[in-house]
Symmetry: C2
Subunit: 706 residues, 2 copies
Amino acid sequence: MHLLSRLFYPRSIAIVGASSSPTKIGAVPVSLLAQHGYGGKLYPINPAAATVQGMPAYESLTAVKAPVDLAIVSVPAARVLPVLHEALELGTKNFVLFSSGFAEAGEAGRLQQQQLADLALDHGANILGPNCLGYMNIRERVYATFCTGPAGGLVLPGNVAIVSQSGAFAGYAYTLARERGLGLSHWITTGNQCSIDVADCIAWLAGDPQTRVIMVYMEGCTDGEKLKNALAKAYAAGKPVMACKVGRTASGAQAAASHTAAMAGDDAVYSALFKQYGVIRAYTVEEFFNLGYAFSVADALPSNRDVGLLTMSGGVGALMADDAQIAGLTMSPLPEAARQSILRRVPFAGVNNPVDITGQATSEMDLLSYTARLMLDEGRYGSLVVFVGAVAASPALWPHIREFVRDIRSAYPDTPLVLSCAIAPANKRDLESLGCLVFSDPSTAIHMVRALCSRRDVRPPRGLPGKTAIGAVAFPQRLGEAASFALLETAGIPTVCATVCANPGEAVAAARRAGYPVAMKIASADIVHKSDVGGVRLAIADDASVESAFSEIVAAVAANAPASTLDGVLVAPMVQGGVECILGAHIDPVFGPVVMFGLGGVFVEVLKDVSFRLAPIDEDEARSMVAEIRGAALLAGARGAAPSDIQALCRAIAALSEFASANREGLSSIDVNPLAVLPQGSGCIALDAVIVPRAEGGAHQVENIS
Amino acid sequence: MHLLSRLFYPRSIAIVGASSSPTKIGAVPVSLLAQHGYGGKLYPINPAAATVQGMPAYESLTAVKAPVDLAIVSVPAARVLPVLHEALELGTKNFVLFSSGFAEAGEAGRLQQQQLADLALDHGANILGPNCLGYMNIRERVYATFCTGPAGGLVLPGNVAIVSQSGAFAGYAYTLARERGLGLSHWITTGNQCSIDVADCIAWLAGDPQTRVIMVYMEGCTDGEKLKNALAKAYAAGKPVMACKVGRTASGAQAAASHTAAMAGDDAVYSALFKQYGVIRAYTVEEFFNLGYAFSVADALPSNRDVGLLTMSGGVGALMADDAQIAGLTMSPLPEAARQSILRRVPFAGVNNPVDITGQATSEMDLLSYTARLMLDEGRYGSLVVFVGAVAASPALWPHIREFVRDIRSAYPDTPLVLSCAIAPANKRDLESLGCLVFSDPSTAIHMVRALCSRRDVRPPRGLPGKTAIGAVAFPQRLGEAASFALLETAGIPTVCATVCANPGEAVAAARRAGYPVAMKIASADIVHKSDVGGVRLAIADDASVESAFSEIVAAVAANAPASTLDGVLVAPMVQGGVECILGAHIDPVFGPVVMFGLGGVFVEVLKDVSFRLAPIDEDEARSMVAEIRGAALLAGARGAAPSDIQALCRAIAALSEFASANREGLSSIDVNPLAVLPQGSGCIALDAVIVPRAEGGAHQVENIS
């Protein structure tokens, strides 16, 4: 049994700070546990009362004289540590700490919380909190919480677990789940996370048989490796995870940081993490619940991204077609024979896809099944979305809708069926029990089909195959151009044949060797943006121009960046043609090595059109990074240009990711800018690079490009 | 009284094809009108029955022998025309035609529909339909419809009118409005629009005293001028219009076209129309109803884009801050004195903005009003969004929420107040009656604040001031470079000083006049993409190079585009620096002259990063076009570059829009590509242009760039 199972499935619970006064926090779990029929033993602890809410109360944990699987602690911060010591001595290993006044309350609180963390570590104990709203195990009726949600009515038991750092958000989520009829298995808040964090809960839920879908609300993370492992576990268990992570923008991150002690990391890195681990990210509460609902109800994933659209309104059909195209789904036209079959029944039908059987269907309700079967048999769509509008809300027509759904679900159990309609809540639940998704908004229906498809397409999260792994290298404190190029070559990234020259004479000799025309750039580990200081000359055609360019570059840099140490001037052949890209890597303080790709020039500088992944990645994943940027068409060959060597580019990205991964200890960041990607078959070549080693003993100097 | 008022407010109604059989379409309006207490006279017409649904029936319209304001016609297509003739002879001017089998059913139907249209025109009659679901006047209980929605329950009377081309969509919308508690004034479907179209309805609703908000669902439009006028009327009446227009993508447009006889025009042009006329566009049904709801309930618009966020959950506060930033709203921090006041009450509060008063508020509910008043008094936010999560759903706390809303709404009647929470439907209506918007999803709350702000910022739709108007010019059938440049100069767009040269000698002379280096390009009205055929040479430095370039260009073009008529070779000074842009104009078949702006090169070719407006526009509107593209930062001066002369650019865009507008009859399209926008103060200059006159008697050759 997993270590946390006793925390979340306790056979006995003590409530320290139990109260009879309904306004006290310590009263809530007592009444919820008693009222809703928790099956284990219950020990209210209150030294000042003989009974609590009609139950005999105990003076202390010691007075219980029976095993306590879980202690809920609802006492002032100053009294928490003594209570924990007492409990641990008695053998209790699991705690829910409601008490606030720890890390969220300043330095003194932070120190106190550290003591809690140490205690948990020393004793192998599990602490949920402090400053949390506790948890609920819905089926087992364990209400280790002071959430007021259940007082307004209970949620249905179901297969969705909600894990939230924020108690207030979780309280709201409980109410929304109840209102929307979303069935829950567990509801867990982690608060200040002194011992158990969101990742621990995900990892445990991955193995919990009652849970099939995991909804995660998070504000930040301090242990990236643990989170990665937890998500990999959920993936391996086949359980979809959806995440609502706040702090996308500077404003949001600031608000999140002032709320919790957690650091809201670079949002692009979280997005990369989610992509690579198959986590579906929700950007609104609405979307979060739609996703949880979709994965909870659907019992199959689409076998392909081709969606069949069946509608009783041509206009809504067009609207769904818009959405599907924008969502990247395909809508193959229905084969001719099937079209003719439909037209024989409804001469005015639209029979391409969307298939529009018009209002005619209200007088011949068997048309729905008839058409849907034709579409699935002959169109072989991976999913079917059916818009019936107000028809399902009509008492006279509803039985036909139910019959239709029953028919299609039983005939095509492996094909997700999504209905968009207005419908009475009880009838909606009826359809859901058949595995049919129901949304009032047709666009949401399409959006959720996309989410189901994306889930199907996720590749298993994994490290890099061992064979290509490279070792760590030793970095000097300052990396000149020559050394940087040599390191890139070691990493497996082709570099331009550049020579660092100390004087005009050496430069002329180098230029002759390279062949004219040449490029010349200042060589200095101190200068990142060389052209900004007059340190770059391109397309130099002859010896005399090389000599004068040498002097001019040195003079310009001396004037514009007088403090820089110069290593000389770099002479390299001009690389003609190709698309300029930028590759980067840096070591994220939470998630470790991260690799970045973008198109060079205006794309990266004006549009911030870049993609990120946690390193290492393989070439397939690199390909998805490349495909993801808005300017990707430029590499495919825009307006008659030859397609670029995307394979070589992906090899370089993967190589850089390996290098960054192998050197996560010694490295701070690498920018390869530009990397010229030549036409297909001609490879790619790094024209310049800046490698920043990790400062000795200091923090990572992370250059934030995004 | 407006002409349509008698159609939508009839004192007497005849139903031709009235039936007692509940499965017949002609039965529905009879029963709805009778059952829901329509106050006027009702005449069921059925030659085969003495009574219909218990009412005396008439053999024909002639047999009624009393004035009939409105005839509802529910007979087979073939019988519609005779019925109309009879009615018109009797003086009836208003018709609702349920009958289908017209333009939607092929060529014969199209001809029959044309007869209806002619009849309406000849007799000054109003026909709604054919092939429509009719209309409802909710307050007056006029149910001139066979929509089944009312059978499931009536919508509340309210101030929102829904106009829809699609009957099926409208039926769904009726049900959604009922489910969401959105109060309606009118519900109108226009079907095949043989006489009355969506624009007519908008224009009429602009003057209808029961209507404050107009929700429009449309699939296409054939009379752009009428739609513009209708929207201008709604704007002038201060009534917000929201539009759900399908056919955004190729798929959607195809589906819409197969559904109706209307052409789904170029979507970018619709977007421009909506922007310029203050129409708020909805992309989903959900958003459509959220917008209708927001403008229906809100009784004030925000006085600025600065939003105050008040939350009881830090996490949701961060989420809303993310949304607000992405939505382009600002969140000024709360002034220091107000912060201190809040911190005195809640030491752990977040007091920047979002202001997070934490769960503490549940035990001190006056904190909500206290904080909100501080925020509005001292932060001067244009709107206030308050997240209270599950608190409003708590029976114990609900009275405090109501008190809070009542207090803030009465103290700050000009400031929109938006609540995000879970809440019982009756309580929600209670808050709405106070003008407070309520959304379950906090992101929707932010999105709607943005919509309210945008509405405030719309400039009145208008033509161009007369003083700058220019006259139409006469276009030759083929426009050479020299003529095109001359036309641009006439239009007020500066052009490069280019000379068309017939031989190398002329070219050398022209180059010396222009000053080296020069650019040389083939001059031919037949060649649009000159560089693709080897017709462009840049940065030519001396006489000899000019001579050889001349021969090479002519040879390359002769080889690559042998069918082209050549006018010579253009010689122009190289324009150094500047940002390359593209300006365009074309004549849209529905909406007339349209102007386009984009950044040149990869921006327009790879990213399709362009903006459109209906012409003519002034420089202010041009400025908003420029600001709207993703690459706008490039013109502001990216990475140390000098800011571009945006004012000159805007002047050129406005000038082009005037020129296109003045020449809508003679012109097909203009591309100015590139237009070099020089650093601030140095103006902009057209380096090349292609002007395509309208083909004699032919259709517009519209070049679709978007």
